[in-house]
């Protein structure tokens, strides 16, 4: 992973158990190790989404973006949409150390779902997602967006 040497130990047990990952690293970890921890936290996270009166457990890495529409907040997956009772600013706080980043007043984007970016007028960016959708990063949020890519 970019020149960092990792020792990986996998312990397979016969008894069924929950998968557990322990990461041993120095307190002043480098950029690659921090990126690894961010990816792991994304996979470890699940959220509750609601649709048609039923609750669903969703994996965070399956969420493309979170958007507020008519004062309600929704998770947008590849082709499904679920509602969440939490407000956008609450998700922004919860997802601070993950690939999710605020790109406008109404949208938080999962940068792991971004396949390419192109510039627009007035200093904005357009992010093309891996499912073909496009999201506009407003000028005010470009800095936070590029920081998620380590730039």
């Amino acid at each position: 992973m970019g020149g960092v040497f990792l020792k990986i130990k996998v312990e397979r047990v016969d008894d069924p158990c929950e998968t557990e990952i322990t990461v041993r690293c120095s307190k002043s970890s480098d950029q690659e190790t921090r990126a690894l921890l961010r990816q792991l936290s994304l996979y470890a996270g699940t959220v509750m989404g609601y649709r048609d009166g039923a609750s669903h457990k969703l994996a965070r890495q399956d969420i493309f973006y979170i958007e507020t529409v008519d004062e309600k907040t929704f998770f947008y997956l590849n082709s499904e949409v679920y509602e969440t009772p939490l407000r956008l600013y609450e998700w922004e706080e919860k997802l601070r150390d993950t690939p999710f980043v605020r790109i406008s007043k109404s949208t938080i984007l999962n940068t792991d779902k971004v396949s390419s970016v192109r510039p627009l007028l007035s200093g904005k960016l357009e992010a093309q997602l891996s499912n073909g959708e496009k999201q506009v990063v407003n000028r005010h949020y470009v800095r936070g967006f590029r920081e998620k890519f380590g730039i």
Binding site: V117, P119, L121, S122, G123, K124, L125, R146, I151
Partner: protein, 141 residues
């Protein structure tokens, strides 16, 4: 169009006033092109750029159908203020040739400002795309 806050309006005012002042100062080396760019005119120009910024504040709160329409609205704001002040303060004779020259100047300033913002966004986009390609390369190997 992104809503502008007051800090950004002040920044736009300062940058556009500086750009216009430099252009007019350079033009005034040639008396045929421009004469009389003195402190009075500098203050008039500042009043004009300030009005442009003030009008930009409510314009930024309109939901335009496309980015091109939003940019056209900004240019119209500039046109109204420059031609309005130009006519009132007698910056240029109210004749076709001089009105055209005045339009050339503010369109040039507008294009330069937009080009700088676009170039900046383009540079960031290229860096991000490079990072995405590196990550995809690492994933597949």
């Amino acid at each position: 169009m992104d809503k502008l806050n007051l800090k950004e309006c002040v920044l736009i005012d300062c940058v556009s006033f500086t750009a216009v002042s430099v252009i007019l100062s350079l033009l005034s080396f040639n008396e045929d092109l421009m004469s009389g760019f003195d402190h009075t005119m500098a203050l008039e120009v500042f009043a004009c750029t300030t009005l442009i910024s003030i009008l930009m504040y409510p314009i930024s709160r309109i939901s335009f159908r496309s980015a091109v329409m939003a940019e056209a609205a900004k240019l119209l704001d500039v046109a109204v203020c420059v031609l309005g002040f130009g006519g009132s303060f007698g910056w240029f004779p109210w004749e076709g040739k001089y009105i055209f020259e005045a339009c050339l100047i503010f369109v040039a300033v507008f294009i330069i400002t937009s080009a700088v913002l676009f170039w900046q966004a383009s540079s960031i986009a290229n860096k991000i795309n490079r990072k995405i390609r590196e990550k995809e390369h690492e994933t597949h190997h």
